[in-house]
C-alpha cells in the first residue's frame, strides 16, 4: 500500500474529487494548508504600502491506496489539478507500514 500526498490549488478540488470517484477510491482526507514554493509568495499593495504574502493557501490531499492503483490515481490528480501556471502544487508517494480500521480492527488491504 502507498500513501499519496498532494498539495493542489484549492479551486481545483471539485475536478480532482470527481476524477478520483470515477476511478473508485475508498477514502480521502483533505486539509487547508498554507505554504510557498520557489517563488516564495507574492507581493501586493495595501493603501500604497507593499506587503508580502509569504504563504499561499492550498489544499493537502492524503490517500492510502493499493500499490497497483497508485499510478492511475496520481495521474488523475495531475491531469485535473493542472492549470499550467506556477503554483499548481506537488505530490509525493510514501510506502505504508501498517493500515488499520479503528471500528473493526481489520489490518492491511482489508482496512482500505
Amino acid at each position: 500500500m502507498k500513501l499519496i500526498i498532494a498539495v493542489i490549488k484549492p479551486f481545483k478540488i471539485d475536478e480532482v474529487t470527481d476524477a478520483l470517484n470515477e476511478i473508485g477510491i475508498s477514502g480521502i482526507t483533505i486539509s487547508e494548508v498554507r505554504g510557498h514554493g520557489r517563488q516564495k509568495g507574492h507581493t501586493e499593495v495595501y493603501r500604497g504600502a507593499e506587503y508580502h504574502i509569504a504563504y499561499i493557501p492550498k489544499l493537502r490531499l492524503e490517500l492510502v491506496v493499493d500499490d497497483a492503483d497508485a499510478d492511475r490515481i496520481v495521474t488523475a490528480i495531475m491531469d485535473n489539478a493542472r492549470t499550467g501556471t506556477i503554483g499548481d502544487g506537488k505530490f509525493w508517494i510514501l510506502p505504508i507500514e501498517t493500515l488499520g480500521r479503528i471500528r473493526t480492527g481489520e489490518l492491511g488491504s482489508d482496512a482500505l
Binding site: V45, Y46, R47, G48, A49, Y51, A54
Partner: protein
C-alpha cells in the same frame, strides 16, 4: 390530497376571501388628501369655529408657528438620530481597518468614546460651545442660551447650560439643540480612534475623550458656531460673512483630524510599521467587508449630518444640501478608485472608501452654499487629496495613522472650509452670521470670504493640534498612554480587557516581524521589528 395541493388550495381560498373583503365598507381617506384639516385645528385649540377677529387670527398664527417649530423639531431630532447612527459606521470602519487581534479594543473604544464624551459634553462642553448662541430661529429661539464671555463681536466662551441646568436651560428647544449638537461632537470624538488605534491604552483614550468633549471641540466650535469671534469676522473686519462652516468640515472633522494628528505624533508609530530603511510596512486590515459597510453607513448618516444642519425642514435648501452631499461622496470615491488603479495597478478597496469619506468631509462645510457642479469638483479634489495625503503622512511625516483619519478628516476638512471661500455661489445664506446679502466665494466676487475661511482654518489647526498636544505631553507624565511592546505584539484585547473579540480563532501575532527577541530591550524603548529599537516618543 398531497400537501402541495393543499397549500395551493389554501392560497386560492385566501385570494378569493381577500377580493370579497376588499368590497366591504366605504373607503375613508385612502389617498390622504382629506386627513388633517380645520377640524383638527379646532379640536387642538378647543374652539367650535374659526372666528374672524384679531383674536381668531392670532390663534391661527400661534398654531401655525407651533406647527412650524414642531416640523423643525422633528427634522432636527430625526437627522440627529441619523448622525448618531454614524457611530455604527465608524466602529465598523476602524475595526475593519485594523488587525483581528485588536478588534475588541477597537470596538470598546467606539463604545466608550460615545458615552464618556457625551457625559463630558453634557457637563461642560455644551455650555462652553452654545451657552450664548441664542437666538436659533428655526427651533423657536433657544432663548436660555444667552450668556457668553467676550464682548460684542469677540465672543470667546458660552456660559449657559452646564449640566443642561444652569441659566434655565431645562427647555425643549435647548434639549433638541443639545441632541443634535452632542452627536456632532461624538463625530469629532471618534475620529481620533482611527489614528491612535492598536497602541493606545484604554486609560489614555478616556482622557482624550474627556478633553475632546469638554474642551477641544466645544471651544473652537463656539468661535465658529456659537456666536464667537470667528463667526463675527464679517461684522468686525468686513471679511465676507465671517467664518462659514455649514455642517462642520472645520468645526467637526478638521478638529477631530488635527487632534488625531497630535495624539498619533505623541504615541509614535506601531511596532514594525517602519523598516530599518524607513520604508513602510503594510498592516492589512482584518475585515474589508466591515470597511465598506461602515463607509456606506457613514454615508447614510451624513444624510442627517448635512441636511440636518439647517436645524429645520422649513428651510427647503435641505434638498440641495442632500444632493450636493451625495454628489461629492460619489466623486470622491470614483476619484480614489481611479487614482489607486492608475498608480498601483488595482483599485484599492479601503482607499476607495477613504475617497468616499473624503468627499463627504469636504462637502460638509460648503454643501448649502454651492451648486451641484461645484460639489463634484470639491469631491474630486478631496479624492485626490486623500490619496496623496495618506502617502505623505506614511512616507514623509512618518506619522502612523492606521485608518487614514488625519488625511480624511483633517486634510479634507481643511479643504472643505477653504472650498466655501471659493465656490459659494450667492444663492443661499442671506444674513448668515448677521451680515446682509448671501454667501459668495472668490469665484463669485467675494475674496473677503476666502480670507475669513483661511483664518478659520488656520486657527482651527493651531487650536485643535496645539491644545491636544499640550494636554497630552502633560498628561503622559501621570497616565500611561501607550501599551507595552509585548502587549502590542500579542494584541490589546486580552491585556486591556481580558477578553477576545474572536475567541474561537487562532490569531496571528506579529511574530513574523522578528520583534519578540527585542522585547528584552531596556524599558523606554520600542522594538522596530528590524533588530533595532527606538526611544519611546
Amino acid at each position: 390530497m398531497s400537501r402541495a395541493k393543499k397549500v395551493f388550495l389554501l392560497a386560492l381560498v385566501t385570494l378569493v376571501a381577500m377580493i370579497v373583503i376588499g368590497q366591504v365598507g366605504h373607503h375613508a381617506d385612502p389617498g390622504g388628501t382629506k386627513t388633517g384639516n380645520v377640524s383638527d385645528y379646532l379640536a387642538a385649540t378647543g374652539q367650535s369655529k374659526v372666528t374672524l377677529s384679531q383674536q381668531g387670527i392670532n390663534r391661527l398664527a400661534n398654531e401655525t408657528g407651533h406647527l412650524r417649530i414642531s416640523i423643525n423639531f422633528t427634522w432636527l431630532l430625526i437627522t440627529g438620530f441619523l448622525v448618531l447612527f454614524m457611530q455604527v459606521g465608524f466602529a465598523l470602519l476602524v475595526t475593519g481597518l485594523t488587525r483581528a487581534k485588536n478588534a475588541g479594543h477597537m470596538m470598546m473604544m467606539n463604545l466608550s468614546s460615545f458615552v464618556i464624551a457625551l457625559l463630558a459634553y453634557y457637563a461642560i462642553g455644551f455650555a462652553f460651545q452654545f451657552g450664548g448662541v441664542a437666538p436659533v430661529a428655526n427651533i423657536g429661539g433657544a432663548g436660555p442660551l444667552s450668556s457668553l464671555i467676550g464682548h460684542g463681536n469677540a465672543g470667546l466662551l458660552g456660559l449657559h447650560g452646564f449640566f443642561l441646568q444652569t441659566g434655565n436651560t431645562y427647555d425643549v428647544g435647548v434639549m433638541a439643540f443639545f441632541l443634535f449638537q452632542v452627536v456632532f461632537m461624538e463625530t469629532a470624538g471618534y475620529i481620533i480612534i482611527g489614528a491612535i488605534a492598536e497602541r493606545v491604552t484604554f486609560a489614555g483614550f478616556i482622557f482624550a475623550e474627556i478633553a475632546m468633549g469638554a474642551v477641544i471641540y466645544p471651544i473652537y466650535g463656539m468661535w465658529v458656531w456659537g456666536g464667537g469671534w470667528l463667526a463675527h469676522l464679517g461684522q468686525s473686519l468686513d471679511l465676507g460673512h465671517g467664518a462659514v462652516d455649514f455642517a462642520g468640515s472645520g468645526v467637526v472633522h478638521a478638529t477631530g483630524g488635527w487632534a488625531a494628528l497630535a495624539l498619533a505624533i505623541i504615541l509614535g508609530p506601531r511596532i514594525g510599521k517602519y523598516r530599518k530603511d524607513g520604508s513602510v510596512r503594510a498592516f492589512p486590515g482584518h475585515n474589508l467587508g466591515y470597511v465598506v459597510l461602515g463607509t456606506l453607513v457613514l454615508t447614510f448618516g451624513w444624510m442627517g449630518f448635512n441636511p440636518g444642519s439647517t436645524f429645520g425642514a422649513t428651510d427647503l435648501r435641505i434638498a440641495v444640501v442632500a444632493v450636493n452631499t451625495l454628489l461629492a461622496a460619489s466623486a470622491g470615491a470614483v476619484t480614489a478608485m481611479a487614482w489607486t488603479n492608475a498608480k498601483w495597478g488595482k483599485p484599492d478597496i479601503s482607499m476607495s472608501c477613504n475617497g468616499m469619506l473624503a468627499g463627504l468631509v469636504a462637502i460638509t462645510a460648503p454643501c448649502a452654499f454651492v451648486a451641484p457642479w461645484a460639489s463634484i469638483v470639491i469631491g474630486m479634489i478631496a479624492g485626490f487629496l486623500v490619496c496623496y495625503s495618506v502617502g505623505w503622512f506614511d512616507n514623509v511625516f512618518k506619522v502612523d495613522d492606521p485608518c487614514g483619519a488625519i488625511s480624511v478628516h483633517g486634510m479634507c476638512g481643511l479643504w472643505g472650509v477653504l472650498a466655501v471661500g471659493l465656490f459659494a455661489d450667492g444663492t443661499y445664506g442671506q444674513l448668515w452670521n448677521g451680515v446682509p446679502g448671501t454667501v459668495k466665494g472668490l469665484f463669485y466676487g467675494d475674496g473677503g470670504q476666502l480670507v475669513a475661511q483661511v483664518i478659520s482654518a488656520v486657527v482651527g489647526f493651531i487650536w485643535a493640534w496645539g491644545v491636544t498636544y499640550l494636554i497630552f505631553i502633560v498628561i503622559r507624565r501621570w497616565v500611561k498612554l501607550r501599551v507595552d511592546p509585548d502587549v502590542e505584539i500579542a494584541g490589546l484585547d486580552e491585556a486591556e480587557f481580558g477578553q477576545f473579540c474572536y475567541p474561537d480563532f487562532v490569531l496571528r501575532a506579529e511574530t513574523d516581524l522578528g520583534v519578540t527577541h527585542e522585547l528584552d530591550a531596556p524599558s523606554g524603548t520600542t522594538p522596530t521589528g528590524d533588530g533595532t529599537t527606538v526611544g519611546a516618543s
